[in-house]
């Protein structure tokens, strides 16, 4: 791909990207729409349990019975609800939304259909079968192991099979993206990959490397063990496998939101992307750094040498850098938009932004919450400071600012233009959609502030504190605050679902009133971005080498010292 160096400057700045727009076929729209539908269904069910958990914290009882007693036998316990909440919201809502959204960003970005649409369907069908397979044991209370499924708590085998199918199905969709990209690349040598496609492909590759951790965990330990083929497992080793995937999982959720913030939001706000080069550089940094730092989730694990904990802590600081870069570029792009719209002075551009556009406002609000999520994340990564908050309520407080705010709110913001675009309808009640974003924002502020504070006071996570015997008086007001925040978030979630349902059921609108795909231009022509920022081989090599260096010795140590001594337990 040395075309740039050899062509004339004029040719370099007038790329041969052919059509200005790409019109998705009916089949593509249906395929993407179906994935968003499954995602939204998962969110609507998963969100039922959020307020229940939050209200439980407040110690609310009805007729002397705790809240969960009222739902028996449908819902056996707090933990079955928590498993549903975590699996459906954190794993299913995100993964199905992402594969659907990436089908759009790959086809629209490259201005061509998927090379093998049937491969996409195959992946989607595998994911859906996986979801159903895992849902059966969860709903029967045979897999109340939470979404981290730490052994030796042992779920029914179908739970593990279902998870594998969801992950492998997402890989299959990814293969379809790669082939489509490869075909495009052969016909367009030297042309910079359109940014929305570029970010999506990197995210998918990162995901396929990162999920090797749980693939190995489930296939070599948990599945044979749950089938009775293996008498015991090594719980410490499984934690290491899990967090090999568990931390990059966070970036699998987050990077699609970054795709929207970089490649779409500037256009929606009326401006341009501030820096194409640094946007691409950030994505490469995430490919390289997302995976080899998972041990920062295991700072308090007894079986991991502290030297590796230290090294992973330092790498976690390093991965904060591309997020800080993103913060600058996204804010600078918004400032550019605000000034284009007549904003003057140091901060005068802020009120000029299109705050009345629900898709824009909810994404900006998600970014505001993510600032706090980022600060909390650096705290979590900080080696011995982590001792203060590890496994306390601080942690769910933190990831509700990341996956349940930065990610979920951005996905909602995307849905506010994407669902009308796919269905040919106008968004129903845009003012209500605007309010929905603010309701989520306010609910999350209240909720996550309470959870962070509870964590600092020492309250454990994953615990129905309403029935815990050791709760001191100074936690009580914060537990109540959690309940209030959770209830507001519930309203926000169901407003979103209602807006989506009514939008889809509306009469078709004239084509001119249906939103188009907002593809942001960058201030500088992407062809002026150096070719090394659009080349896979060096970055992929560094990523794999770094993973081998940072995980290899410790994994070797743990695997060679493996003691499969833990039989399964079902203590729920």
């Amino acid at each position: 791909m040395t075309a740039i160096a050899t062509t004339t400057p004029v040719a370099a700045v007038t790329p041969s990207v052919v059509p200005a727009k790409y019109v998705l076929s009916k089949g593509e729209k249906r395929f993407i729409g179906l994935q968003l539908l499954v995602a939204t269904l998962a969110l609507s069910i998963g969100s039922l349990f959020g307020p229940l958990q939050a209200l439980e914290f407040s110690g609310l009882t009805i007729g002397g019975r705790d809240l969960y007693a009222l739902f028996q036998p449908l819902l056996a316990s707090y933990y079955q609800g928590l498993t549903l909440h975590g699996v459906l919201n954190a794993l299913i809502w995100t993964t199905f939304f992402i594969t659907g959204f990436f089908t759009l960003t790959v086809t629209y970005g490259l201005r061509r259909p998927l090379a093998y649409p049937k491969l996409g369907w195959l992946g989607f069908i595998m994911m859906t079968l996986g979801l159903l397979t895992a849902a059966v044991p969860i709903l029967l209370n045979e897999a109340s192991v939470l979404y981290t499924f730490y052994p030796p708590l042992q779920a029914n085998w179908a739970f593990y099979v279902g998870l594998v199918l969801v992950v492998v199905g997402s890989w299959v969709q990814g293969y379809g993206f790669y082939i489509t990209y490869y075909r495009w690349r052969k016909q367009n040598p030297g042309v910079r990959t359109p940014l929305m496609t570029f970010g999506s492909l990197i995210t998918m590759v990162m995901w396929q490397i990162a999920t090797l951790g749980i693939a190995v965990e489930i296939l070599t330990q948990l599945l044979p063990w749950s089938l009775g083929l293996l008498p015991g497992v090594d719980p410490q080793l499984n934690r290491t496998y899990f967090w090999f995937t568990g931390h990059p999982l966070v970036y699998f959720w987050l990077l699609p939101a970054y795709v929207s913030w970089y490649a779409m939001l500037p256009k929606q706000a009326g401006g341009k992307l501030f820096s194409d080069s640094l946007a691409r550089f950030s994505f490469w940094m995430f490919l390289v750094l997302s995976t080899p730092l998972g041990l920062h989730h295991q700072f308090t694990d007894p079986g991991v040498p502290t030297i590796w904990k230290t090294i992973h802590a330092i790498l976690t600081y390093a991965v904060a850098f591309p997020s800080l870069l993103t913060a600058f570029t996204v804010v600078a792009s918004l400032e550019y938009a605000g000034r284009q719209r007549g904003g003057k002075g140091l901060l005068g551009w802020i009120p000029k932004l299109p705050w009345s556009n629900p898709s824009v406002s909810i994404q900006i609000l998600s970014g505001v919450l993510f600032v706090f999520g980022g600060i909390g994340g650096i705290t979590n990564a900080s080696y011995n400071i982590n001792l203060v908050i590890h496994n306390t309520a601080w942690v769910p407080g933190h990831f509700h600012l990341t996956v349940a705010s930065a990610v979920t709110m951005t996905f909602m913001g995307i849905a506010y233009w994407l669902v009308p675009h796919l269905t040919g309808r106008k968004l129903w009640a845009p003012k209500l959609a605007l309010a929905q974003g603010w309701i989520w924002f306010i609910g999350m502020m209240i909720f996550s502030n309470a959870m962070h504070t509870l964590g600092l006071l020492g309250a454990p996570r994953r615990t129905p504190l309403g029935v815990a015997p050791y709760v001191p008086a100074n936690w009580e007001p914060r537990l109540l605050q959690t309940a209030i925040g959770g209830a507001i978030l519930f309203i926000g979630a169901y407003l979103f679902v209602a807006i989506m349902v009514v939008t889809v059921l509306r009469k078709p609108a004239p084509a001119a009133e249906v939103p188009e795909v907002p593809e942001a231009q960058s201030i500088q022509d992407p062809q002026l971005t150096p070719a090394w920022l659009d080349r896979w081989a060096p970055w992929l090599t560094i990523a794999i080498l770094l993973i081998i260096l940072m995980y290899g010795p410790n994994l070797f140590y743990q695997i060679t010292n493996m003691q499969n001594t833990s039989p399964g337990f079902k203590l729920w």
Partner: protein, 170 residues
């Protein structure tokens, strides 16, 4: 073409001066954080749990130091506490220990069944308790009072009831 000829048509990474400043500030900030953590661990001695010993979770309650869990005095003011976190029944054994103020206690915790947590309120004692592994941290207790440790990892239906207490006597 109507597009104006750019001044510098050669591809290059264009970095705005403000962005350059931001990047430098970000790097400095992260380096300072890393140094602060290094100072805390090496000068102040705030350490994380490290590999201590492997055990067989199926036999710990019948042989080895966890067969008779509890507090042992090593020297005046120096103790070790062997604690077993049970998921079958959801309790710590022992549930309660008592030391005089000024004592230094080294906790050794393990599990015969599922994963648990061990967090001592108001301190940096925070460990995962994993079957097959022994978790250990040391803490000095100067102020008399009662301090709870709680299980912070989901271990089954009775998880919320699982806690213990250290009483520091004057």
């Amino acid at each position: 073409m109507t597009t104006p000829q750019p001044q510098s048509p050669e591809p290059s990474v264009h970095i705005d001066p403000y962005e350059r400043g931001w990047m430098i500030a970000a790097i400095i900030m992260l380096v300072v954080f890393a140094l602060a953590v290094a100072v805390a661990s090496y000068s102040l001695g705030i350490q994380l749990p490290a590999p201590e010993a492997r055990v067989d979770p199926n036999t710990i309650t019948t042989s080895g130091p966890f067969a008779n869990p509890g507090l042992r005095e090593l020297a005046p003011g120096r103790y070790e506490a062997y604690i077993v976190a049970h998921g079958q029944g959801w309790y710590f054994n022992p549930r309660q220990i008592s030391v005089p103020a000024g004592s230094e206690v080294t906790f050794y915790v393990t599990s015969p069944d599922v994963q648990h947590g061990f967090k001592l309120e108001g301190t940096n004692v925070n460990m995962m308790v994993i079957p097959g592994q022994v978790s250990t941290l040391t803490r000095r207790f100067d102020t008399p009072g009662e301090y709870n440790w709680v299980c912070h990892e989901y271990c089954g239906t009775g998880h919320a009831a699982m806690y213990g207490t250290i009483t520091v006597t004057p």
